[in-house]
């Protein structure tokens, strides 16, 4: 009996992902033997998915080299193939994969660099701050945004309610922390020149804010207090809770200046009570 369409598709996908599966029961011999015809699809699939990972993880590729990257990408595709036709989601587990990937275990900082690159990728495609896209439609690329959060609107909030405010962080904002100087490692490895500076892995830990300002993704260093503040806000904690967390990490943090800056630079784009 002829196999069902379902059986044909399952056999095809198994044969693409696992070389030991023989497609001869479904694929006809043509100019080449059946297995060679299927090999063309296998090559296309791994090439295109490796290219997709390479586009998101250019620093990882530079750090490990093209050969190792292709090897890791092949393993990643077999273990975590895409689960939708929207390729923007593909590669979300690459940092966790690298952390567990034995051949890369010598390079302890790799997963954190991957986390930074994924945060950059997410920030690049994240939603615009509300109201931006229509208002800015006719602006030249790079034109400054008007902060969507009008500071005057805060004047209507009575002081005894301040602690209960919940600020809304920009939809592109991502926070990345590492015990390694990942920003410096990343920065040095996304450049195309050959001149890679030496980086001291013990040069200290990084707390980073990855955020898209207008159309450009920025990677900004934060102190421990600010990191805790924004991290609490991104979890929708109240201002009171967020300030408590921030001051626990950094008692001398100038909270008023921080909040002014966040509103001015549209790191915070709204609030609710």
């Amino acid at each position: 009996m002829a196999p069902s369409l379902r059986e044909i598709q399952q056999c095809f996908i198994d044969a693409v992902l696992h070389e030991q599966v023989d497609p001869a029961s479904i694929v006809a011999d043509g100019r080449f033997p059946a297995a060679r015809h299927l090999q063309l699809y296998r090559n296309n699939v791994f090439e295109s998915l490796t290219a997709a990972l390479r586009a998101v993880y250019p620093a990882i590729e530079r750090l490990v080299g093209d050969g190792f990257f292709c090897y890791a990408a092949h393993e990643y595709v077999v273990q975590h193939p895409p689960t939708s036709g929207n390729l923007h989601d593909f590669g979300n587990r690459f940092a966790a994969f690298l952390a567990a990937f034995r051949p890369a275990s010598r390079y302890e900082y790799l997963p954190d660099v991957a986390r930074l690159e994924w945060a950059w990728h997410e920030a690049f495609h994240a939603a615009d701050a509300k109201g931006r896209s229509r208002a800015a439609k006719n602006m030249a690329p790079g034109a400054a945004d008007v902060p969507p959060l009008d500071p005057a609107s805060l004047a209507n909030v009575s002081p005894e309610q301040y602690a209960l405010l919940r600020f809304h962080i920009h939809p592109s904002a991502r926070l990345v922390a590492s015990r390694f100087p990942v920003a410096a490692i990343w920065e040095a490895n996304i450049r195309t020149d050959d001149d890679v500076p030496e980086i001291d892995l013990d040069a200290g830990a990084d707390q980073l804010l990855v955020i898209r300002r207008d159309l450009t993704v920025e990677v900004e260093h934060l102190g421990r207090g600010e990191y805790a503040l924004l991290e609490a806000m991104s979890r929708h904690e109240t201002l009171g809770e967020a300030c408590k967390a921030a001051l626990a990490h950094q008692p001398d943090l100038d909270l008023v200046r921080c909040l002014q800056e966040y509103v001015r630079r549209a790191t915070l784009i709204g609030f609710s009570l």
Partner: protein
């Protein structure tokens, strides 16, 4: 007021003209917006704009203000035995609602089974079961999107033991049963004909002409293996001469059609894409001239001069509303 509830389109009505267009890729955003070359339309891969915001959508919105748009999908996986991915359709619908494309297309293929996607246009076995299945998904997708889809013939590198229906017949039945249109990729026809040894012109002849609403042209790569050559649809080069020849044949049979120069890898300078589009336009213009000459010959028993050919050609352009708009697409 009856019109008060309808929001006017921010882009104005811009049907796709029967002229050549180019793919819009990130590397060309700024140059295209600054130079605004005189091409008939722009086409983008829908899935590249599935993000929620940022630069891609920003630039697409700017480009859309100056050109008609075609959305070309690679991820609907219409031939999959998995249920139609509603999330994917919803993202596509969001794009369609925002950018008001004149054409929305995807492929005669499948990309996924059991929730695993391979990001490739995988060939279907052409069986009665696959036909029913594909028809159901096209009808569902059109229903959910609230519009007609175009289905493109794929490049293929293998055939199945159990296929019983020729590919053009399969496509013809899909259009007949779902009302969808076709995107005839002439390069794909040529690539598959070489890989499987069929007659490319017979394939073109078997296409239901009325259903073809767009044509694709691209460059292929010849891979050489110990057993022989295989043509791969790589979209990384100028259109090859045999494909131009098959395109001339296609236009002679179908008449003018919106024709896209597809170029996705090893991107050239923008002007190379525009040059390729001009070549396609020249083939369509030459066809019009010959067709006009034929019309004229019939009417005046062969006394037409070059001048009258040019005049009737102008008249034909004006009589066709999608062509008459052509001179104004790249104006402010």
């Amino acid at each position: 007021m009856s019109g008060a509830t309808t929001t006017p389109s921010p882009f104005g009505a811009r049907p796709i003209p029967a002229a050549a267009g180019i793919g819009l890729r990130a590397a060309h955003y700024r140059e295209l917006l600054a130079a605004r070359p005189a091409v008939g339309f722009l086409e983008v891969h829908s899935e590249n704009y599935f993000g929620d915001g940022g630069a891609p959508l920003h630039y697409l919105e700017q480009a859309r203000a100056h050109y008609p748009l075609s959305l070309h999908g690679v991820g609907l996986s219409l031939g999959s035995t998995d249920p139609l991915n509603r999330k994917h359709v919803a993202k596509l619908k969001r794009l369609v609602d925002r950018f008001e494309p004149a054409l929305v297309s995807d492929h005669l293929c499948w990309c996924s089974v059991g929730g695993t996607f391979l990001n490739d246009l995988l060939p279907l076995p052409y069986t009665e079961e696959a036909l029913e299945h594909f028809i159901t998904h096209v009808a569902q997708a059109q229903e959910l999107l609230g519009r007609q889809l175009l289905i493109e013939n794929p490049s293929t590198y293998l055939t199945y033991r159990h296929s019983t229906i020729p590919e053009p017949d399969f496509l013809a039945e899909v259009t007949r049963r779902t009302g969808c249109a076709l995107l005839l990729d002439v390069n794909n026809v040529y690539v598959s004909s070489r890989n499987h040894g069929f007659d490319a012109t017979a394939y073109i002849d078997a296409m239901p002409a009325h259903a073809v609403q767009e044509i694709h042209l691209a460059g292929y790569t010849v891979n050489v293996y110990p057993e022989g050559e295989m043509l791969i649809d790589t979209h990384n080069a100028r259109v090859h001469e045999p494909v131009w020849k098959l395109y001339r044949y296609t236009i002679a049979r179908l008449g003018r059609r919106p024709t896209l120069i597809e170029w996705d890898a090893d991107l050239p300078a923008l002007e190379v894409l525009v040059e390729e589009a001009q070549l396609a336009d020249a083939i369509m213009d030459a066809h019009d001239a010959v067709a006009d000459w034929d019309d004229e010959s019939r009417e005046t028993a062969g006394s037409a001069t070059q001048e009258t050919v040019a005049e009737t050609k102008g008249a034909r352009r004006k009589a066709n509303p999608t062509c008459s708009a052509r001179s104004s697409w790249h104006e402010n």
